[in-house]
Amino acid sequence: MYNIRLQDFEGPLDLLLFFIQRDEIDIFDIPIAKITDEYLEYVRQMDEVDLDGVADFIYMAALLIHVKVRMLLPKPEVDEEGEIIDPRQDLVERLLAYMRYKEAAEGLDVLHKKRGSLFTRGKASAPEIERDVVDTIVNTTVFQLVSALGRILAEASDAPTLAVEEVEYKVADQRAFVAEALSRKEKVVFGELVHDAPKRFVIATFLAVLEMAQQGLVWLALTPEADDFYVRHLSDPLQNGDLRLN
């Protein structure tokens, strides 16, 4: 058995391609039973692969087994015109397409490296003029603004994983959660509110709090240490002039 590491492969197609290249297999006539067994053998040792990749490898395993089973059918499958369908056809097409782009990626890498030895002007070098700052026109859309907000929130979290066992936390639910907490206590520290909770919970709660603040239902104030903030219940939402709408 070859001592290879799954993380050296970009994904299941890359791994299959490796088998094919290594064993000089005719890509148009893949010995599916053999390659499936070999593939499964590698996938079994997959403990080291991070969760992100597992689903993709397992999906391919299922697909390979399925093709293998179809190959074993006593009567070959036929399409509408009575032509025999090779169960491997889709897989082969995918492998071929992947090969082309994989090679293109290597080509891009070469371009990128070449470009890497050309340097553009650094910040120290600059034109000797006074820039008219106030006259700059902002070339940005509201969508970009919203994306920026999304980015802040997304980056507050760990690297995302595939939604395997993730529980969904909805902003609406978290609003109720916050409201409930504030019904017991007029003022809570955000950090305590979400103490030890999963990131998704924290973010949903944060969004809920932001939303409530925007609607004047709560008021946010920084704690004296400035490392957390209070969420305070506002009894009379009409008082709130916090958002200067227009």
Binding site: I137, V138, G150, V171, R244
Partner: protein
Amino acid sequence: MITEDDLPESDDRLRELARAIEALVFAADEPVEARQIASVVSEVSQGPPPTEEAIREAVDFINAACEQQERPLRIRQWAGGFRMTTTEDVAAYLKVYFRSDRRQKLTRSLMETLAILCYKQPATKPEIDYVRGVDSDYALRRLLDMGLIAVLERSDAVGRPLLYGTTPRFLEEFGLSGLDQLPNLREIEELLSDPSFSQARASLLMMQGIQQQEPPEPRDSQEES
């Protein structure tokens, strides 16, 4: 005019030093000190570092060549280091370029700061720092300079920090008639919740009703057939 004939024997070394200096000073993000140049050149050439005098001579050589060729760039020594700038006589071009032709894109840090401010104003700097997880000092100053935000008042909180908010100019630049025209959080969810846009981000943002988009060739059918 300085030509090859006028130069001493060390011509080649001077030229190579000048090339290194011109490239370094052009690409650096900070003024480059003579000793930095010396150490880089010494490391690359595997030889002794050039003296400060040699470096100065090479800079003069570059500037003399630029002047002789009427090129609009010079290397100047400022704040203890060398940097490259344009000559004054081309300032007119640059003024026109920077004024009208360059629609300035807001950098990411400016965008983030603005995004927080427009949804949560008035806000203090510590509040913005908290949400962004980084210091927003520079971003706030730039946005103030650009007239997109303003100091509204002082907060009642400890230390009475300044409260920032967006300006009418912000609305104008973003084509909004009022702050209430900003997408609300529900709409943000919708904007960002497109399943193919970014599922991880979307789910992080607690988007609802996300379904994994099927690939063009339906995977399910193969499993079912």
